[in-house]
Symmetry: C2
Subunit: 325 residues, 2 copies
């Protein structure tokens, strides 16, 4: 079944229901949607739906709404972050311009709602609850992006604030993906809430793994140069913990690298990574990641469903834990 | 009744249901929403609703969704147009910055959907139809803005293209305002379609009147300096018709002003206005405006409703025809 999800989603994306003109508005949407990606969110939505129903094709369109929303946030975040590349290709504001990326992104957000509106067979109350959850989550993702931008200009960020930022920016949408599958399948509120929690935990583990892979990932597999976060002084879980724990000479060295304006990139990456190694940051981050995933598996275990039914989602979750890309 | 609409809308705006933090995200929304404005769209929605039902307070929240959407487009358009002022005050991207205006605008669009979702008492099919119309219209407004930006870099624009641009950028949302009132009141599809058409016609007349007032309005009443469109060579109905009709010496003079890089602003405004006067552009634009409004009044006449019921909406429409601000 899960092997059929991706082809079904890609087929729907290939035929994405968009306007035609002006082309400047719609080409960037097709361009970004077709850059690929793992489609984790809609796959999670379909997996959750399949916990309760076999007729998963009915959930493909609303599930795609989440993927379109996610890509909309990428289009606008890339403008704000002045990012030149996305998945190894030019970002929309680079390939076209800022105004086109703003306006195309706006249409893309509307398009996400158009796909959400392809939901079938719910009652008005169920559908409005789904919209309410979608809307609240969409606002939270923006809140997370604003926090992330605010952190850039701050000298210090606490771990609790960082975790709250990634919860909003990344995890709530992973949570919504699972929750939406449950709501679409008309299960109980208790179960859809539990699936949201599971998704949020997965999302936290997922984002911390991203932070880890940016430093320790195999560049061949990870697809981007390791050390990007180190070069940009990005306040990730790793850097925040390193700043908190470094003392004496190590603290001086770390602060030196953070303040340095001219350096050999590879030297900065190697030196900061060496500091992380000395402080045991890798192991600590792995522990933190595992803790979130473990909680998610415990919550899965507690879901009042036949164990056999859960296997698809559990297998996908294990893939996220073990991922190297 | 209509006297109660504005206070009810302003009360709802004063208590607008928004998130709290980060403040950078939500303050700009309150700022822009509270800059004022005539609230034409939600008032039209409530007027249309009142054609069929007395319980108009139930329609206030979704009607406000249209006003929030409209203000979202202003926030993003102002970034794209690099506009320094909005209603005589700093625009959001000027008062804060571009990134905040992008992201606040995004949350504002989501907030518009949150208000749309406060719709009550419809069937799922009726509500999804409302969402479908809202979504399609929202995409069209973005299409209109993209056309408008495209026109800036073109040397020639045809009247038909211009009218299509203002139809998308302005009129479809006025159309939706009336249509939404009808859908919320659960009237027939035929009547909600007619109200959409009436709104679209009003919107065309309304925008052409805006073009006219920018040149011929009384600055004391209109609240902004006359001639802004002339100074920026904005391809309005007036300029496009003048370019089409000017010949010989007049054409040369007009093109001279369009190409001029250094001039006294008042001299350019007076000279181009004199050309408009010589070509009868004012009268032609007024004729065009009246034609759209006349069609709207004919369509109102044909609406199968008690004449007495229509009086509120008709009176409001007459106010739009006669407006000098």
């Amino acid at each position: 079944m899960i092997q059929e999800f991706l082809p079904a989603l890609e087929a729907e994306i290939a035929e994405q229901d968009l306007g035609k003109t002006p082309v400047e508005l719609y080409e960037p949407i097709r361009y970004l949607m077709q850059l690929g990606g793992k489609r984790i969110r809609p796959v999670l939505c379909l997996l959750a739906y399949s916990l309760f129903k076999d007729s998963w094709r009915k959930a493909v369109a609303p599930a795609l709404g989440i993927e379109i929303f996610h890509n909309f946030t990428l289009m606008h975040d890339d403008i704000m972050d002045k990012a030149p590349l996305r998945r190894g290709k030019q970002t929309v504001h680079e390939k076209w311009n800022d105004n086109i990326a703003i306006l195309s992104g706006d249409v893309m957000l509307v398009n996400a709602y158009q796909y959400l509106n392809k939901t079938e067979n719910l009652s008005l109350a169920e559908y409005q609850y789904l919209c309410q959850r979608f809307n609240r989550t969409a606002a939270e993702v923006c809140e997370g992006q604003q926090m992330d931008m605010n952190f850039e200009s701050r000298s210090q960020v606490q771990i609790a604030e960082y975790v709250e930022m990634i919860r909003l920016k990344t995890s709530v949408l992973i949570g919504l993906s699972l929750e939406m599958g449950a709501i679409l399948a008309q299960t109980t509120r208790e179960i859809s809430d539990s699936l949201y929690q599971i998704g949020e935990l997965i999302g936290l583990g997922f984002q911390l793994k991203d932070d880890l892979l940016d430093v320790y990932g195999d560049p061949e597999k990870f697809g981007k140069q390791a050390g990007g976060d180190i070069l940009s002084n990005k306040k990730t879980f790793l850097l925040i913990r390193a700043i908190e724990q470094a003392e004496g000479q190590v603290q001086t060295e770390l602060q030196g690298w953070l303040a340095a304006e001219s350096y050999h990139p590879q030297e900065k990456i190697q030196s900061v990574t060496a500091i992380y190694n000395a402080l045991g940051i890798k192991e600590e981050t792995e522990l933190e990641i595992n803790q979130y995933f473990d909680q998610a598996f415990v919550a899965m275990d507690e879901l009042p469903l036949e164990e056999g039914k859960k296997e698809g989602l559990l297998k996908f979750m294990r893939g996220l834990v073990d991922r190297e890309v």
